[in-house]
């Protein structure tokens, strides 16, 4: 257990190792540690932020979807109303058209009937004149009684 030169040797060795550690070991390791700490901190903050943003975006998306749904419902309602309107319009138009055609047909029929009646009247008067002629030919001159016959034909 003698004290000898080993003591000085160990002191020198220690100075060298501590110097080496101070110069080449401690700073890079500690720098890396601190930088990583900072990175992790930033990463966590970023994660929190993006989480918040995600929630926000989700809410926004929900809102948009809701709005769209409401719009869709509105459009559907409008379309229904429009369809009903169109159908009603169509019905009205149909009724009017029918009435129009009906009245047109009635008018035509009446016209035809009038025409036929006129014609008939002419023919009846012609027949009447002819028959009267035949009768009168025997008794009177047709020319003398023409005006009477014409009046008669008009009255028919």
């Amino acid at each position: 257990m003698d004290i000898n030169m080993t003591l000085i040797g160990q002191t020198i060795a220690m100075i060298v190792f501590v110097w080496f550690c101070m110069k080449f070991i401690w700073p890079p390791i500690l720098n890396a540690l601190e930088e990583r700490q900072q990175q992790i901190e930033e990463g966590l903050a970023a994660a929190d932020k993006s989480q918040e943003k995600l929630v926000e975006a989700q809410a926004q998306a929900d809102e948009i979807v809701n709005e769209a749904r409401q719009q869709a419902t509105g459009i559907l309602d409008q379309a229904h109303a429009r369809a009903n309107e169109i159908v009603a319009d169509g019905k009205d138009a149909g009724v009017k058209e029918r009435e129009r055609q009906l009245s047109a047909a009635k008018a035509e029929i009446e016209q035809e009937a009038n025409k036929a009646r006129e014609e008939l009247r002419g023919q009846v008067s012609a027949i009447a004149i002819a028959s009267a002629e035949k009768i009168l030919k025997r008794e009177i001159d047709g020319k003398a009684h023409d005006d009477i016959l014409g009046k008669l034909a008009q009255e028919l």
Partner: protein, 282 residues
């Protein structure tokens, strides 16, 4: 449990003595360098202690340097993570105790902690393995645990001692250092008739404070040396027990793991405490 290279027949005491003998080289009276006849010679070097101490220091430097070179802020490798755990442990210990700013204290603590730990760890290698291998290679003595050599522990604590003085003078000035040695614990009075007592008080203070100052490195080194030497001695005694040494050796080794770590930690912690005391005024 045979001891190679011993002289004479093998007895328990010669076995123990052989295990406690350093491999020494020294300069004798004629100026010749001689091996192993150095008892009482101050110009001697314990080659085995020195070798293992420097070897383990190099192991520490190499391992940590490789990590330091490649250390990145990204995902660390497993070994890098392990090294970082130790570095962070030392760093937090230093930050808890030492409040000043110093580029030296933390690396000093790390070096002391890992180096002393590795030196102590050599104690867990079965006591005969390396000495027997060395004996087979023709080396008569081989003490493999540097921290069981009082020269090694004193060598480190003296470095710490000089650092204590350096930090005291650096932070408090040379007058502060002298004042710390002479004006505590009893403050001398320089006014009135009490001035006559001042030199006495100063002398008294100086004796007390220099003992306190010198006790720091002495206790630091003797604590480590005593623990490791006792542990080593018990390992050697256990090795004498024949087959019963196996369970006993295991039990003591398990217990010794605690001592190994604890003593390394205490050496580091006390160094930090002493240096923080040196740089803070109270």
């Amino acid at each position: 449990m045979a001891a190679e290279g011993g002289h004479g027949e093998l007895t328990s005491s010669s076995y123990i003595q052989h295990h406690l003998q350093n491999l020494q080289v020294c300069r004798d009276e004629t100026g010749e360098w001689v091996w192993n006849t150095c008892a009482g010679n101050p110009i001697a070097i314990n080659v085995d202690s020195m070798f293992w101490s420097v070897f383990l220091g190099l192991v520490f430097c190499t391992l940590f340097w490789r990590v330091a070179k490649k250390s990145s802020t990204g995902k660390p490798t497993k070994f890098q993570a392990f090294v970082e755990i130790i570095v962070e442990f030392v760093d937090s210990s230093v930050k808890d105790t030492f409040h000043g700013k110093s580029r030296l204290i933390a690396p000093l603590g790390l070096t002391i902690f890992v180096w002393v730990f590795l030196m102590n760890l050599m104690d867990l290698i079965p006591v005969d393995w390396i000495p027997m291998a060395a004996g087979a290679a023709g080396i008569p003595y081989m003490k493999v645990v540097p921290s069981t050599d009082v020269n090694i522990t004193f060598g480190m604590s003296i470095a710490v001692f000089f650092l204590i003085i350096f930090y005291t003078i650096k932070n408090k000035g040379i007058t502060g250092f002298i004042g710390e040695l002479t004006l505590h614990p009893i403050a001398p009075s320089f006014k009135g008739p009490a001035v006559i007592a001042a030199p006495l008080i100063i002398a008294f203070n100086f004796i007390l404070e220099s003992v306190a100052l010198l006790a720091k490195p002495v206790s630091l080194s003797l604590r480590l040396f005593g623990n490791m030497f006792a542990g080593e001695l018990i390992f050697i005694l256990i090795a004498l027990l024949g087959i019963w040494q196996l369970p006993l050796h295991f039990g003591w080794a398990v217990f010794h793991v605690l001592i190994v770590t604890l003593q390394a930690f205490i050496f580091m912690m006390l160094t930090i405490v002493y240096l923080s005391l040196a740089s803070e005024s109270h």
